[in-house]
Symmetry: C2
Subunit: 359 residues, 2 copies
């Protein structure tokens, strides 16, 4: 369990506050799906061959790639809690946590770049950046893809593009997404309208934890659905445009909230502060929702600016740290839900106290 | 409206913390119903004669009684808000606030002794004391009754005792009650059992605001139902015994709560503190319920003892001050509900801040 503890103590680079729009777009992500020519897709490959393929990929990473000094993890060596931890950090998918044999992860220390081996495809490259920066992500992901392609050789069709296990990924094999904080759209009830119009544009919106307006912490992933017949730059351009429009809607909803009923909004935000600084037991959902209200209050100037913006970066970091596996990894032992709720409340109280000037 | 504003700024003597049991029994009250010989009961008397009778009673009070220097109020002279204010302070009944013509109130400055004229009976004497002290109340109420009897002459039957408009009050005309704070019995769900056993003993229990376990602030009035065939001292003795037993049940329920699940109880209490110190809008119900949790936390030592017990007396005082008419009387103007909720939250925040060391 100790191997991942230093990750738990660090904030991933993509969660640091970006200068631009970061109170609405927390981070961007580009994922590239790649498969190695001459090998069957993972779901049709036995364990021995999966392990062999993983060796090949790890070897290629070590020979020459931006991940040459990154952490390499064999999924079957990890404990349940470590898998949960990587899952909470969005470094692996739920599939990779479930089917571990022959699966692997290569992970840059700052978590800006990673690579899953033998998930749905042989290789899934993931690049992350703070704020709305899909082209930065694409640059890094493509760099890694090129480095590996020269030594591994990817399945590629002149007409179709990159071949993938699932037809929806054929073409660029690329998904670009933005992690957005949309509390005002949730509160005004305008969220559904915005999501529906995105869907008509072939974009998908998912609650990061939970679906629709019930999503915890008002956190949503906005991403492209189509990969075929479009260039990588097309997709980047669309994400920039669509996420930008959603951010505009959120901004207008925030203005409407504060114009329409400022006291009720302030009440909501200060109550969230009261819960976070006083509760002795906090579930993940309640904590994420209250942290969301706090971030909204900070963005709207309802909560006083405290010494420097550092405190607010710490609030962002809590989004990861308060999750179940994170709490257990940093404590170095497994804990039942009530104990986690208590530890979560204690951690939040310590961290938030400095931002509370409510009384 | 100004005539009552100085009352709004003072704490009534019966709400000051008594040395004994006061965290469970807040105050005691004795009420004596009396009627003047030769006059019909108020419900069968026209306005002119009610006013005449009121003059007689006020005259008798002024001639020689413990209320000689007390405030004398004509109900029909009061504004709606002033009637509500006296109602919230338990100085008049809802009937006296509704049917004002010819009705009156004589009220000691410290509110320990008062007299309603032409409520259901011609005279209703009320004595209040902090803590569990029905015999102290009875002493003062009887003193006033004797002083008035000599000059007014009360309707009295050798066999039945004092005659009253409603047969349930015939005899002593006395009701003795204790205002009890029973949050642990509400939380453990044992309240109903305790209330049922009191009812079998001819005692009544009413939520001070609202009924049963839905009573606001977990505040309950425990009082005798029977008045006939018992002496005043019998009733005092019964109230002492029954309220004492209920207090024991509450004490045991508190111990059970803290033994069974201390963290959950602490969570509840600290959350109440968080709401009271952070909310910008508070309804009467939410405020009373949260103040109840705070008092419980203080009694159980969950909340730290702050400098002196003064702060906690102030918490008690809030029980009156946060009510609607009180807020408006002390502001000197009438306010709609949302504005009251805001003022209530502000008042509580200012008052409670000193007791909050939660973070």
């Amino acid at each position: 369990m100790s191997e991942l503890r230093d990750f738990a103590r660090r904030t991933p680079s993509w969660l640091t506050r970006a200068a631009d729009q970061s109170s609405i777009v927390l981070s961007s992500r580009v994922r590239l799906a790649r498969n190695i020519r001459g090998w069957t897709f993972p779901h049709a490959t036995d364990a021995d061959r999966l392990c062999g393929l993983r060796d090949e990929v790890f070897g290629a990473v070590l020979r020459d790639s931006p991940l040459v000094s990154a952490r390499r993890l064999l999924m079957e060596d990890l404990e349940e809690l470590e898998l949960g931890f990587l899952r909470e950090r969005n470094m692996i998918s739920s599939d990779l946590a479930r089917f571990v044999l022959g699966r692997g992860l290569v992970l840059a220390e700052d978590e800006s770049l990673s690579l899953m081996v033998n998930e749905e495809d042989h290789i899934r490259i993931q690049a992350l950046a703070p704020g709305l920066d899909p082209s930065g992500c694409l640059g890094r992901a493509s760099g890694l893809s090129r480095a590996l392609e020269s030594s591994l050789g990817f399945a590629f069709d002149q007409r179709l593009g990159y071949l993938t296990a699932c037809p929806t990924n054929v073409g660029t094999g690329m998904r670009a997404s933005a992690l957005m904080h949309l509390p005002a759209l949730v509160l005004t009830g305008d969220l559904q309208r915005v999501l529906n119009s995105l869907r008509r544009l072939d974009f998908t919106v998912r609650g990061t934890y939970g679906e629709g307006s019930g999503a915890m912490g008002a956190l949503f992933q906005v991403s492209n659905s189509a990969t075929l017949g479009q260039s990588e730059d097309d997709i980047v351009g669309q994400l920039l445009a669509h996420a930008g429009k959603v951010a505009d809607c959120e901004r207008r909803a925030r203005e409407a909230l504060i114009t329409r009923d400022r006291v009720r909004l302030e009440d909501r935000i200060w109550r969230a502060m009261g819960r976070l600084t006083h509760a002795r037991l906090l579930s993940t959902r309640e904590a994420l929702d209250a942290l969301s209200d706090l971030q909204l209050g900070h963005a709207l100037g309802v909560l006083p600016a405290t010494e420097g913006v550092d405190d607010w970066d710490e609030v962002n970091e809590l989004l990861l740290e308060i999750q179940g596996a994170h709490l257990q990894i940093s404590e170095g032992r497994s804990m039942e839900a009530p104990e986690r709720d208590e530890l979560r409340a204690t951690l939040i109280r310590q961290r938030i106290a400095g931002t509370d000037e409510g009384k």
